[in-house]
Structure formats: C-alpha cells, structure tokens
C-alpha cells in the first residue's frame, strides 16, 4: 500500500507514468532516515509560516458585526488615522534618535583618532594610531554584533528582505517585536559608529514597520503590557496595513521621501492596495518626515528652519552647472549599464559569501568574531589608503569635518581621508558636492575598488546595517571618476560637472544592486529635491535593472531565496499552465469532523510530524468513509483557544453558567497562541465532543482539481490566502494547497524548477 511518505522523490516534476512510479517506490521505501543535504538555494524552510489575511467569517464574527453599530465603525476609521499619525511621529523620533546618537558617537571617535594621528605624525609611531583605530572599531562592532547574534538574530542585515516577506504574507518569527526594534536601533548605531561600510537608512524601514505593528496592536508582549486599546486591529489583515504604513514612514524618514515611501510599500505589497490605504500611508509618511525635520532642526539650533527632511540629505542640485543637456542622456544610459554590471558582480560575490556563511559560520560566536574582523580590516584598509595617498588639498574653503593632515603640508588635508575618515553618509554628500578638483582620479579609483569589496564583504554580517548608503557611495565614487575623465576627454567642457555624474553613478550602482524601480526613482528624486533629474535617474535605473537582471537577481531577492523563504512573486512561473491543482496540492488532508472527539483534536494538534495550521471541517457522518463533503475550515489557533476554554458539548450541557466564547477571546490570544503542549486535557475530557460549526469559517475558498497552477496562484496571491482547499466534484476534500506548495515552483535557468522542503 501507499504510505504518505513514499509518494515521490523530491525535486522531480510530475509526468511520470505508472511503471516508473512503481519502480520509484521500490527505491524510495528503504530510505526512512532523514535525508541530509548541505544548505543550498533550492530549499524552502519549514520554519516560515504564512500569515492569515483571510477573514474567518464565522458566527462569532457575524455576531460582533451585528453588535457594533454604524457609529462604532466610524470610530474605527478615526482610530486608523490616529494610529497612522502616531506611527509617523514615533518613526520620526526613532530616526532622530539614531541620527543624533550616531553623529555624536562617531564625532567622538573620529576626534579621538584624529588627535592620536596628529600626535603620532610628528613623533612617529603611526602604527599605534592604526591599532587604536582598528581596536576602537572592532570593539564597538563587537558589542553591536553580540546583541544581534545572541539576543535577536532577525535584526541582522537591513531588514528590507524581512519586511518584503512580511508584506508578501510570510510570517518571519520575531520580525515585528519590540525587542527586535531595540536591538535593531542599537545595532545600527553601533555598526555605523564602528566604521563598517554600512548605512543607517535600510534599517529605518524595518524600525518603522516594527513601530507600526506595535502601536496598532496597543500592547507589547515583550514588555507584557496591554494598553487595552486598538483591540479591533488584532489580526493579520489590519496589522499588515499598518506595517506597510510603517515601512513607508521608515523610508520617508530615512530619505526625506514621503512619496517614495508610499511607492516602496506599494511596490512590495501591492496585492492588497486601495485608495484609502494609500492616502493613510501617505499621511503617515508625511508626518514621519515632518517630525524628523522639526526635531532635527531644533537640535541643530535653527528651529522653524525645516532643512533636514531625511537622515541622508543629498544637498541641493539646483545651480545651472548641475543641469543636464540632451546629449548627456546616452552617457547616463551607459552609466546605467556600468552600474548594472557592477551591481551584478556585487550580488554574485555576496551570494557566494552568504552561502559560505550559512554553511560554515552559523555559530553566534563565530559570527561575532567575523564582524569584528571585518571592522578591523575596514579600519586598516582605510588607514593604509590614507597613509599611501599623496593627494593633498588646501584646507581653506573646504567643508571637511575631520581634516587629517598626515603627510600633507601644513594647511592642507589628505583628500583620501575625506572619503574613508568619515561616516559614509557624509562621504556621499562630499562626493556629490565638492567642487571639481577636490579629488584626484587615482584617489577615487582606489577608493571605489576598496570600498566595493568592503561593502560586499560587510553585507550579510550579523550586524544590523543597510546597503543603501554603501552602494550610493561606491556609485558616487566611480561616477565622479567617470565625470572627471569625461571632462579630460572633452578638454574641459562646461557641462561635465563631476557632482552630477556622481549622482548618476550612485543611482546606477544602487539600482544595479537592489533592482528597485519606481520607488527608487522617486526616492532619489525627492532626496535630491530636483524633479528634472527624474528622467535621467529613471533611465539609469531602468538600464541598470535590465543589465543586472541578465546576470543575477537583486540583492534582496537573493537573500530571501537563500533564507529559504516561501516567497510568492507577482505571477506564477510562465510555463506552468500544464500543472494542475491535483499535482500541486498536498494530500491526504487531515480533516476534522464537525462534531469531533476532543482526544482526536488533541492528538492531531500534538502530532509533530504534521504541523498543520488549518483543518478542513467535514460533515460528521456516522457511517463515515474517510472523505465527506467540505463544510468549513478551522485554524490551529482557533482550536487551541477552544481547548483552552474547554468549549465542549458535554460541558455546555452540564453547566449553563459557562460564558459564551466571544471573538475577543481569540483576539486576546493573537498573535502568539500558546503551544498545544501547554494545554492540559484530562483523560475524561478526551472523551468529550467539541462542536466546531460555530467557530469554523463556513465558506473557505476552494478550487477544483483541474485548476491550473497560475489560476490557483492568482487566487492565492491576490486574496492573501493561507489555505486553499482542493475539492472534487462531490465537494469532497482531495487536497490542500498552501504557500509552500506554490512557492516551490520557480523559473530557473533550465526552465521550471522545483524546490524541496527542508527543516532548518
């Protein structure tokens, strides 16, 4: 007979005829022990659950809706606006906090190191300065990396892939917790102060999302506080809307780009979009950038000035030299091509590195050591570059924050030091705006080369840090180099202002690495404050994306894939129409009867080998064959609440005083339902019956067996489903389609591929 575990061989597509199938069964059967393989990109992890965006329209829900009148729904709408405003304000404040702390700590560090270098330049012994710098960096990064590695690993990296997954409907454990926020904020501060080649902009998006998730729920489980407000929003659908608002507010605070923030959320989560939501999200973004702006302007001493809308400010690009002419557009497109190629190279290198890290550097202490080493090497490379550079620029009239003299004549500073001896944000702005001639081409070339590898090496470390600023910096450096060589070639034409090319190079490089399109264009446009740059930036980003996609995919998608996340893209793979629901679904399905024995429910829930979350409810026929007509769908979380409150048929008959269960009881348990092991069910109670008809979702979405994969996919993606029941023409449950069943089909290099499931 067929046992469930012996149905197929992994990683192979269907269309096997009967003979082969039999043959296979013989080879498969002996292999009962778990099949171990090294980590690779063609896996889906079991760790990731799906979020439940489908509203369970059970009787409790209907009752509640009947009870709440029209006016109450209006207050719900007002509450949504209030929450959005609060999201904006808090995101802005967090951004301010990060900015101010980074500025002060980094300033302190650079002053100490500069003082030391100045001292030792006269007397000799610069190797001590090098040691001091490297040790300072390494120790700061050590703290930053330790809190991430040991306390909350999900706070590592920029957080954009995680938020992308969340908006896609994947539940990443711990991703929107308050603890994550705290670790993230501290981690970002420490890694930027530690001098790594990272930025603080990407993590702002994650921070905004966590803030949104926290505020909209009106409580924090990390703090064990429940403020008893906003209880209506305690479910995945509402939370997702607020999280997208938070992500938008984060982008807006990071770049001073409210519209870009809205479009970012739109790009990542467009399947559930509507006008009112857009308008609310825009409101949150605007509030966020305004809060940041006003607080920072008070901090900088010129209140009411409102001159710093984002964490990074590209400065103004509005003098006439910065304008562009139509002849330059082909040059910009060429820069886009270069950016695409360099971006692809960056991603490919980072891919190998990340693979190595997942396979070999998985212990937290190793991760901390690695981060420390990268920090020390970053400082060393910077120091050696500064040491070897003979590019001196007069100190007068320049706006260098920490001018290092080193071997330059008195009254001059080392121009390599402006790039390396500074926070990356400041370096980017310097590259955009320093007058022509501030850098010599050799300096820029060496800087680009070194920083490229450093940034590539840094991304994926166990520290919280973004990749936006390093990409911009690499791009700005080679863009400026490009501009300088262009003006050499054309014998100093007026239009070849290097700052403009630095901007285009930055856009090209960033586009080549992250492959964002619309939102990135708008973000760049808003950050430069110049609408006329929209067209060339769009062209550059487009070219970079096209060229880059030819080689490898974007950095974020790549990391999502390496994490084995069941991510659903916009569309099903194009060549998958021949696959039907029958081949996609999982079967046999564990079904529950409408009136089920408690013991059976507990056993099913406790079974670790089949960790299902949704169970079709079928008609409880006494003369039961195994399959009967589908009546509804019930979730694991609901069952657990039912068991916890002991809503059994017998008990209801015995004691009429028992309180009727309300929707509120389910909401209070959200989002962390207790595990089944924590619920005690006595031997007597196991014999009781439980009636599910009142709690199940009576109208789950179903598809017939013959539906093609793209059809199933569309339904699943657009509605944000978690479970899709496959039925035959007698309405009997045949199988169940979940996220992992759909996400495993992917268009690879040789056509359609199938990923395998793995425990990670």
């Amino acid at each position: 007979q067929l046992t469930p575990s012996s149905f197929l061989r992994i990683g192979q597509l269907s269309n096997v005829d009967l003979n082969e199938d039999v043959h296979e069964l013989e080879t498969e059967l002996p292999r009962q022990h778990p099949n171990e393989i090294p980590h690779n990109e063609k896996l889906l992890s079991l760790k990731y659950e799906s979020l439940d965006y489908d509203n369970s329209e059970n009787q409790l829900f209907l009752e509640e809706e009947r009870r709440i009148n029209h006016a109450a729904f209006r207050t719900v709408e007002i509450k949504r606006w209030v929450i959005c405003a609060m999201i904006g304000i808090f995101t802005g404040l967090v951004a301010c906090f990060i900015d101010i702390v980074v500025e002060n700590l980094a300033g302190l560090k650079y002053r100490v190191v500069k003082g030391n270098i100045d001292k030792f330049t006269e007397k000799g012994g610069l190797s001590f300065s090098l040691l001091l710098w490297a040790t300072l960096n390494a120790s700061v990064v050590m703290v930053g990396s330790m809190i991430v590695a040991f306390i909350e690993p999900v706070a590592a990296g920029s957080g954009i892939p995680q938020i992308k997954c969340y908006l896609n409907g994947v539940k990443i454990p711990h991703v929107v917790r308050l603890k994550t926020l705290v670790i993230k904020v501290c981690g970002v501060i420490l890694s930027v102060v530690g001098g790594l080649a990272v930025g603080k902009e990407g993590p702002m998006i994650h921070s905004g999302a966590v803030i949104a998730a926290g505020i909209s729920q009106g409580r924090s489980t990390s703090l064990k506080r429940d403020f008893k407000i906003f209880e209506y929003f305690r479910r995945d659908t509402e939370k997702r809307d607020f999280v997208s608002a938070g992500a938008a507010a984060g982008v807006s605070a990071a770049f001073g780009a409210p519209v870009g923030g809205v479009l970012f959320s739109l790009e990542e989560g467009a399947s559930f979009w509507n006008q009112f939501l857009t308008w609310r999200i825009f409101f949150a973004s605007m509030i966020s950038t305004f809060t940041l702006n006003s607080v920072l302007s008070v901090y900088h001493g010129n209140a009411w000035d409102l001159s710093s809308p984002g964490l990074i400010n590209f400065g103004r690009f509005d003098n006439e030299k910065m304008g562009y002419t139509i002849q330059e557009i082909p040059i910009f497109i060429f820069m886009g091509v270069v950016g695409g190629i360099l971006g692809a190279l960056f991603n490919a290198l980072n891919y190998w590195l990340t693979m190595f890290r997942i396979r070999y550097i998985h212990r937290p202490c190793l991760q901390v050591v690695e981060a420390m080493l990268v920090a020390a090497v970053t400082a060393t490379v910077g120091f050696v570059m500064i040491y070897c550079s003979r590019d001196c620029q007069p100190i007068q009239g320049s706006t260098v924050a920490y001018p290092l003299q080193l071997f330059c004549a008195d009254g001059e500073y080392n121009s390599m030091a402006t790039a390396f001896f500074n926070t990356p944000e400041k370096s980017v702005v310097n590259l955009f705006h320093d007058p022509p001639g501030s850098y010599n081409p050799m300096t820029l070339g060496m800087f680009t080369l070194m920083y490229f590898f450093l940034a590539c090496w840094t991304y994926g470390l166990t520290v919280s840090a973004g990749v936006f600023i390093p990409s911009l910096l690499i791009g700005a450096a080679w863009g400026r180099l490009f501009g300088i060589s262009l003006s050499y070639l054309t014998k100093g034409s007026i239009w070849a202002d290097p700052g403009k090319y630095a901007l285009m190079g930055a856009a090209a490089q960033l586009g080549g690495i992250v492959r964002m399109t619309l939102s990135l264009t708008v973000i760049m446009m808003e950050a430069t404050g110049n609408v006329t740059y929209g067209f060339p930036i769009m062209l550059v980003l487009m070219t970079a994306k096209i060229v880059g996609d030819y080689f490898v995919e974007g950095l974020y998608d790549m990391h999502i894939q390496l994490q084995s996340v069941p991510f659903l893209h916009w569309e099903a793979p194009v060549t998958s129409h021949s696959l039907t629901a029958r081949e996609v679904m999982s079967t046999p399905v564990t079904c529950l009867r409408r009136i089920e024995r408690v013991g059976t429910v507990v056993d099913i829930l406790s079974d670790t080998s089949s960790n299902h979350n949704g169970f079709p409810v079928v008609e409880s026929n006494p003369d039961a064959t195994q399959v009967a007509g589908l009546r509804g769908l019930i979730l694991r979380s609901q069952l657990i609440v039912l068991l916890k409150h002991k809503v059994f048929v017998e008990r209801a008959n015995l004691s009429l005083v028992q309180r009727r269960l309300k929707l509120k009881d389910f909401r209070d348990a959200y989002p962390r339902f207790p595990p089944i092991q924590s619920i005690h069910v006595s031997q007597d109670e196991r014999e009781c019956m439980i009636d599910l008809s009142e709690f199940m979702n009576p109208s789950p979405y179903t598809v017939p067996q013959e539906a093609s994969l793209p059809r199933v996919f569309k339904l699943f993606r657009a509605l944000g489903l978690r479970h899709l029941v496959v039925v035959d023409n007698r309405n009997e449950v045949v199988g169940m389609v979940t996220r992992k069943d759909l996400a495993r089909y992917r268009l690879g290099k040789e056509g359609l591929e199938e990923l395998s499931l793995a425990q990670t």
């Binding site: 992994i10 393989i37 000799g124 012994g125 190797s127 997942i358 190793l366 690695e370 009254g411 425990q759």
Partner: protein, 303 residues
C-alpha cells in the same frame, strides 16, 4: 494743471545750465549735450533732474566707492582687505545710509532715496552697495574687527604681530643663504623660527576654535580673510619652501601591523572552513500525488 509746478521744478536746473558733470564724463560731451538741449526745449516727459542735495550725496557715494574699490584692488595680494579698507567700507556704508534716509527739500514725494535708488531698472547705486556688502561678508571681515567695527580686534592685532615677527625671523635667518640653495639647507630657518611658527600656528588654531564655538549658528566658520591668508602664506613657506615639517614616516611598523590584521580574516575563514561542521538541512518529504496514475490509485482506494 497740477503738473505745472513739477515740470517747472524739473526744468529749472537745466535752464540755468547748472548740471555739473564730472570731468571724466567730459569726453562723452556731445551726446549728453544733445540730450540736455532736448530737455531744455521742454519736451513733454517727466525727466526730473536731481536736486542739488541729492547730487551731493550721490557724488559722495561715488567717491566713497571709488576709494573703496581702489583700496580693495590694491590690497588684493597679499590680502590686507580688512585691515586696510575697513574705514572706507564704514564710510561707504554711512554714505549709502545717508542716501537711503535722506529726504529732498521738496515737499513732494521726490526724495533722494527714491530718485537715486529705485527710479530705474539698473539701480546702479544699490548694485554697487550690494557688491561691497557681499564682498565684505565673503571676506568675513567682521570677524577680525571690533564689535563696533572700529579698528582691528585685539586677537587679530596679536596675530598680525606674531605673523610679522615670524616673517622677520624668516628674513633674518635667510639672509646668510642664497635663495637658490637646495631645499635641504633651510635647516637654519627651521631651527630658529620653529618657536615663533609654533606660536603662530597655535594662536591661529585657537582663534579658529573660539570662532567655531562663538558662531553657534554654524555658517561663519571662517576667520577673516586677512588672517587666513597670512597663515596660509606662512604655512606654505614653512612646509613647502623651507620644507621644515618633515613628519616621521614609519612605514615598516605600519606595514607589519596592517598585514597582520589583513591576515587574520584569511586564518579565520580557513579555520572555520576546515574545522566548523557544515550545517546540514534535513529534507522533508511532502505528501503529494505524483502522477495521474497514483491519483487514480487513491481514488479507487477511497471509493
């Protein structure tokens, strides 16, 4: 009818042959005279000549600005703008203020400010005064003048004294030697003037620090141009011409330390590659129908 007095007023000076043209303009004579004759002929047109008071003010302003321009030009290199020209500048400011405030003796609205400053498109007086103001701002002269901008501030005077002292020191010590000596032979200067140079340098740095603290608003981080330029010249002389500041370059230890640090990651990655246990993933076999055939099997079994 009410136009008549105004017209008379306008024509009077011209009729009296009054207009005193500056000598320099004599060359332009013909055309100007023609124009005046046209006026004299009483052409309809509201072309009022300036009142004498206003003309005096204007002349004063012209002279003031000429003087200031001359001063600025002469003191351009080496830069001594603020020291030399602040009196001219102050005077000019006063003259401009006079124009802006002055009211002509006619009770009509024709005051000097209006007719001089705003009655034509070019507004040359305003433009000139703006130019001077901007130059003054750019040079940051206010920074080395006293608060009421009378005379140089104490710190500036002190700095300039020290500056002169070090220049004298340079001169003294260079006297024995020829200018064409190879750069290595400036050791005398370096040794003898080191102290003065250090003092000058320190004073300059102090001034800068004080300035940065004082100017909370942040934008005027510069000292005034005279001081900056003086320091610049001295520094250039010191480190470029005399080659006095020779930093100790200790390349060997730096190379040693940096190669040690750069070597660490290689060790780390190699050791973790060799010793760390590779993480394995356990594959899970999903429950799935493989083909139509097996589906048929199931169907048969169930029904």
């Amino acid at each position: 009818l009410s136009l008549l007095p105004a017209l008379a007023l306008a024509l009077r000076p011209a009729a009296a042959g009054e207009p005193r043209r500056p000598l320099a303009l004599e060359a332009l004579g013909e055309a100007g005279e023609l124009a005046e004759e046209l006026w004299g002929a009483g052409l309809p047109g509201d072309l009022p000549e300036l009142e004498p008071e206003c003309r005096q003010l204007l002349a004063a302003f012209a002279e003031g600005s000429a003087a200031l321009t001359g001063c600025l030009g002469r003191r351009a290199r080496p830069v001594r703008l603020c020291q030399a020209c602040h009196r001219h500048y102050r005077l000019l400011l006063a003259q401009y203020g006079n124009i802006a405030r002055a009211v002509g003796n006619s009770s009509e609205s024709h005051n000097c400010a209006k007719s001089i400053l705003t009655s034509d498109r070019l507004q040359i007086v305003v433009a000139l005064s703006e130019f001077f103001n901007e130059t003054w701002e750019a040079a940051n002269c206010a920074n080395c003048l006293k608060n009421n901008s009378e005379g140089l501030s104490n710190s500036t005077v002190e700095f300039l004294d020290l500056f002169n002292k070090s220049l004298t020191c340079f001169e003294h010590n260079l006297q024995g030697e020829t200018v064409y000596l190879s750069p290595n032979n400036y050791t005398e200067v370096c040794k003898n003037c080191n102290e003065t140079y250090r003092m000058l340098n320190d004073l300059y740095n102090n001034l800068q620090r004080m300035n940065r603290q004082g100017g909370e608003s942040g934008h005027s981080a510069h000292l005034c141009i005279d001081v900056e330029d003086a320091m610049n010249i001295t520094r250039k002389l010191w480190s470029r011409t005399f080659n006095c500041s020779v930093p100790c370059s200790d390349t060997v230890p730096v190379i040693a330390v940096s190669s040690f640090i750069l070597f660490l990651p290689i060790v780390f990655y190699l050791s973790s590659f060799l010793h760390s246990k590779q993480k394995k993933r356990i594959l899970i076999l999903p429950k799935r129908i493989q083909s139509n055939a097996s589906l048929v099997n199931i169907q048969e079994k169930y029904s």
